[in-house]
Symmetry: C2
Subunit: 166 residues, 2 copies
């Protein structure tokens, strides 16, 4: 498997396996950097933000999705239920206490890192990125019709998607 620093010799699609904090690329290598539901597993967002800014060409795009701070804050990643077992509301707690959260995902213990919205935005704006668009993902009309449980996804934001330009 090629090392990331040999990126200049890339043809087509190639895959690297590495801790994100340890990846290195030459400055101004990429037109677009895309990250899907990964960065809430990474402790040092500021480091990643710095690197991504360097790796992008001028005018380059950084588009990413993460679990929403409202979703990661409290840590259990489950609803609050009433005495009848009905979903009562979504719990938010320790919002400004950033860092490690021990959660479960598909039956496995998983460590995630909670960050405030302020941190996600500030780290990138401070690098010099320009915010282009923000979306808190919600189900479409079609999904709401097809899957009745999807209506709960209108009750709390789960996914945050942002698009930035260098």
């Amino acid at each position: 498997m090629k090392k990331a620093r040999e990126i200049n010799n890339l043809k087509g699609i190639e895959y690297f396996r590495s801790a994100l904090e340890e990846v290195t690329y030459p400055n101004q290598t990429f037109d677009v950097i895309l990250s899907s539901l990964t960065l809430h597993y990474v402790e040092l967002f500021d480091t990643i933000a710095q690197n991504i800014y360097k790796w992008l060409k001028p005018g380059g795009q950084f588009v990413f999705s993460v679990e929403h701070p409202v979703f990661t804050a409290e840590g259990t990643q489950d609803w609050s239920y009433d005495t009848h077992g009905e979903k009562q509301h979504w719990p938010v707690d320790n919002y400004f206490i950033e860092g490690r959260r021990n959660t479960t995902f598909l039956g496995e213990n998983v460590v995630k890192y909670h960050r405030t919205l302020t941190t996600y935005l500030s780290c990138l704006l401070n690098q010099g990125f320009k915010l282009k668009e923000v979306v808190e993902a919600q189900p479409s009309e079609e999904m709401l019709k097809q899957f009745s449980e999807m209506k709960d996804e209108l009750r709390r934001p789960m996914i945050l998607i942002m698009s930035y330009e260098k």
Copy 2:
């Protein structure tokens, strides 16, 4: 009291009393527009965003604070308590159901309007504003030492402050 349209004749500080949606000013009148904890009482944020963009000079600043969407979503604006009356967590519900919330403030019934973070950001970015800074207000070290109840303000975001440039 002068009407807003006579703004060109203003000397020093003058005060107008009017519904925000009905205020009119000439285009490119102001260097800075500041709004403190007001816009969550206004139903039509998009209209306000359009107007503010027009009223600012090129390079002008729009800085505002509102109650945070996490604070306004559920509507009762109170904690969830356990059976011993202790604060359990902050409830979020109906996050994507924007609009009217009937709340109480200092013992009075008050109508507020919940909007998602996406709406606050998108309305302004779509006008052409550039996001400069976002802060979710939290108590300082000094406040935390002086007022023990302030530690609850680390548990959920109450105030959202944003700064934009035309």
